[in-house]
């Protein structure tokens, strides 16, 4: 083992049916360092963590821990804990109804009885030494989320952990709480604990970490000392686009036609949601295609969900065609002619057991009211029209939607919203997980809709796709709008530089 290392993973492989989740990944954690594990969705971060904590068995490679000569085999989270690998998850895995002290010691004390005085005293000492502002006898549920998170860390630390994994611990914390957490992390680092920090927040990585390991598509991109890796390089490594690659794809959409001086179809001022995004301004004109871009977790989906009223809106004004409107729930948005194709079509989009026809007319039916159903013939006509228009491959309009392929399901949902004849269509990752041919079809359709005078907001993880379809891009980072790009600025380098922020070397 490398000197000073507490954990070495070498050549880790993990396969799921049809998917290569991890291929020959190396990871080294040294004593007293905070090591960021970065990568976009599907890069293999969580798979690597799960292999390390024994949730998944590995299909190849070896894991070595400091203090044992032989590679270790970790078969369950419990075993991982016993070996000194503790994990604190994004969701608090403590019991809110118990006291702070009890949460720190339950499940790991010896003997059949609870010695309240002892656990309260021990907990008090530990909380003091880590500077956690909680009282042992306090009910955990009465602490803030950040303190609960810290109590979870205190529990992990007290279990003599050598490796502490923090899996997205900051996503539900506010800035001050994050500061407190970072202080605790630095204290632990001083004590020689190796910390693996998984996060989407670039700023936080640069604030607290010593090293970064980047994964992409299940393979190792590299391990870097933080000073040697400027932000923009990190972003380009995560996205797998070379920063210097000047291959610039011209937008096919005819931006000249858009009259930017006209009243926007939709305009939001200081729109704020409760899902962790900062208030933002946003507008879209007739016939325009624009997009939200940013890394996963930067808040791009949250923004469009706020626009559609899918998440609770906490402030701001919304104007449609110059008139002030209130959009607090999806139905409000639909009545104002906004349609939203959600990111997670399995969860938010399709009703699996209903037929293709019923799925297509669903939105229109909701707007009409359930007590005035469409006649069979009418529904049939709508369904057939759109099945033909979007060339949806289905046996018949009676087929349950769940038996269709992903791309065709996506088209059915698109048909649903097109049928509602929206003036403003929001498409959140409409091309994820579908084949190239259908992707291109959907992109073409988006441009065609815009040419017909509809406004479209388009979100995709693939920058190429965004550049091809959008005439304007809103760039997000860590829940904030950090830039708006259009015209000649709409190229990969500029986008990546804006996503990365800070000084780009």
């Amino acid at each position: 083992m490398e000197t000073g290392a507490v954990l070495e993973m070498r050549g880790i492989c993990k396969y799921f049916p049809g998917v290569r989740a991890l291929e020959q990944v190396d990871f080294t954690l040294r004593e007293g360092e905070i090591h960021a594990l970065m990568g976009e969705n599907g890069a293999g971060k969580s798979t690597l963590i799960k292999v390390l904590t024994g949730v998944y068995p590995k299909d190849g490679g070896e894991i070595r821990l400091k203090g044992s000569d032989k590679p270790v085999h970790i078969r369950s989270p419990q075993e991982a804990q016993n070996m000194g690998i503790s994990t604190v998850y994004q969701e608090i895995t403590l019991c809110p109804n118990l006291t702070v002290a009890e949460n720190m010691y339950i499940g790991r004390t010896k003997g059949p009885l609870t010695n309240w005085r002892k656990i309260n005293n021990d907990a008090g000492k530990l909380l003091d030494s880590l500077g956690i502002p909680a009282l042992p006898a306090q009910q955990l549920g009465s602490c803030s989320i950040a303190v609960q998170q810290m109590v979870a860390i205190a529990r992990a630390v007290d279990m003599e952990c050598k490796v502490l994994i923090l899996d997205e611990p900051t996503s539900s914390l506010d800035e001050q709480e994050v500061e407190k957490l970072f202080k605790l992390m630095r204290d632990l680092k001083e004590k020689g604990v190796g910390i693996i920090f998984v996060t989407h927040f670039l700023e936080q990585v640069y604030e607290v970490c010593d090293r970064i390991t980047v994964l992409r598509d299940g393979t190792l991109v590299g391990e870097y000392v933080i000073e040697d890796l400027p932000r923009v390089q990190l972003v380009s490594k995560m996205l797998g686009k070379d920063f210097d690659d000047m291959a610039d794809i011209k937008s096919e959409s005819d931006t000249d036609k858009i009259d930017y001086n006209s009243t926007p179809v939709y305009e939001a001022k200081k729109l704020a949601g409760t899902t962790g995004i900062k208030p933002f301004d946003f507008s879209i004109h007739k016939g325009e295609v624009n997009g939200f871009t940013g890394l996963l977790g930067s808040g791009r989906s949250e923004c469009v969900r706020a626009i559609f009223g899918a998440d609770k809106v906490s402030g701001g004004t919304v104007m449609m065609n110059g008139k002030k409107v209130k959009i607090n729930k999806p139905l409000d948005a639909m009545k104002n002619g906004i349609s939203y194709l959600p990111e997670d079509r399995k969860r938010d989009g399709i009703v699996g057991d209903l037929s293709v026809r019923d799925n297509i007319i669903l939105a229109l039916q909701v707007m009409k009211g359930f007590f005035r159903p469409f006649s069979r013939a009418q529904a049939e006509a709508f369904a057939d029209e759109y099945i033909k228009l979007l060339s949806i491959k289905t046996a018949s309009s009676e087929t349950p939607i769940k038996s269709l392929s992903g791309g065709n399901q996506q088209k059915v949902i698109l048909a649903r919203w097109l049928l509602a004849n929206p003036v403003y269509l929001i498409l959140d990752e409409p091309t994820r997980g579908i084949d190239i041919g259908t992707k291109v079809e959907i992109q073409k359709l988006v441009l065609k809709l815009a040419a017909e005078g509809k406004s479209v907001t388009f979100i995709s993880s693939e920058i190429d796709e965004m550049i091809r379809t959008c005439s304007r891009l809103v760039v997000m980072r860590d829940g904030k709008v950090v830039g708006e790009l259009s015209g000649n600025d709409l190229n990969q380098n500029k986008i990546m530089a804006t996503i990365a922020g800070g000084e780009s070397k």
Binding site: T93, P96, L113, R117, P136, Q139, C143
Partner: protein, 364 residues
Amino acid sequence: MSSNTNAAANIKAEKNLRKRAGLTDTNLLLIITIAVFVAMYALAVFLLGGGFTKPQTFFNILNENASLIVLSCGMSLVMITGGIDISVGQVTALVCMACAVYLDRDVLHPEEYAGNPGNVVTALLIALGIGLAFGLVQGFIVAYLNIQPFIVTLAGLFFAKGMTTIINATQFNVANEQFLKLKEKRITVPGMGANNKLGVYVPAYVEIGVIVAVAIVIILFILLRWTKLGRNFYAVGGNNQSANMLGINVRRTKFMAHLLCGLLAGIGGFVYFMHAGSGSPSHAGGAEMNAIASSIIGGTMLTGGVGNIAGTFFGVLSLSTIKNIVASLGLDEAWWTNITVALMLCIFLLLQSVILSRKHKAKK
């Protein structure tokens, strides 16, 4: 000397810390429950005068409700883990019927058992066996086959009901002498008696069932407060996924809760039997609902993770005090009692949620 003062200082510091830490939800609800009971009893004294100031009136409430106390304790255990057991009432009826038929076998089947009645110890074992069997099967299905406790225990309810009528379809009073002696046994409570109208001193008494119930309350209080198993009940009820991550065997914990609840239904059934002295398919009808109501009034939350056995005890007393008030006011019809209990449940739940939400808001 100095270590002594040190220890004293430590204890003092700890007490201060506790004061600042505030009450846990469980303790807060316990205090409310006790306050409600005191208020209820004071209301009874106020409305109905002297009768309620006699200790024997209080003891009679205990005598009447010893079995409900035991059943409610079992219910609270299951509810704390986030489950429910609606079979306990019918299990009580089954226990009564089985014990009654066994004890009076010389009367029912003279050709076989003439002059050879059943004995009380075996009857008790039958009661415990029935309770354990229900707890074992229901617990296994709920915990290891992962089926909703409501459905499982609903099936248990029907099964127990069916079994009761299969054993004997009609009510009959037990004539077994050994049992009657036990049933009539009075335990005098010293110094609590009162003079009757003729000026004769009548000592206060409780039945054996009350001793059993109080013992169970004490045992379960200790179990929940200090033992690992008891604390695991709370953890599992608070959040069973978290409990799993904290290294608690969630399935075994749920299984144990149902097992104990079943066992307590057996004990509660026998206590009911000792009080009623008969077997009947309609015994303890709706007792499970009273047990749930008592647990809730006692500060146990249906969502799990919060509750206290002492609270349950006072919950039963509150419930029966209000029933006594209604009955003594001459509104002696079942629907009046039910409406009052319903109202009380509503008020109590409202009070609980208001207090808890205010407390949690204050913390934020």
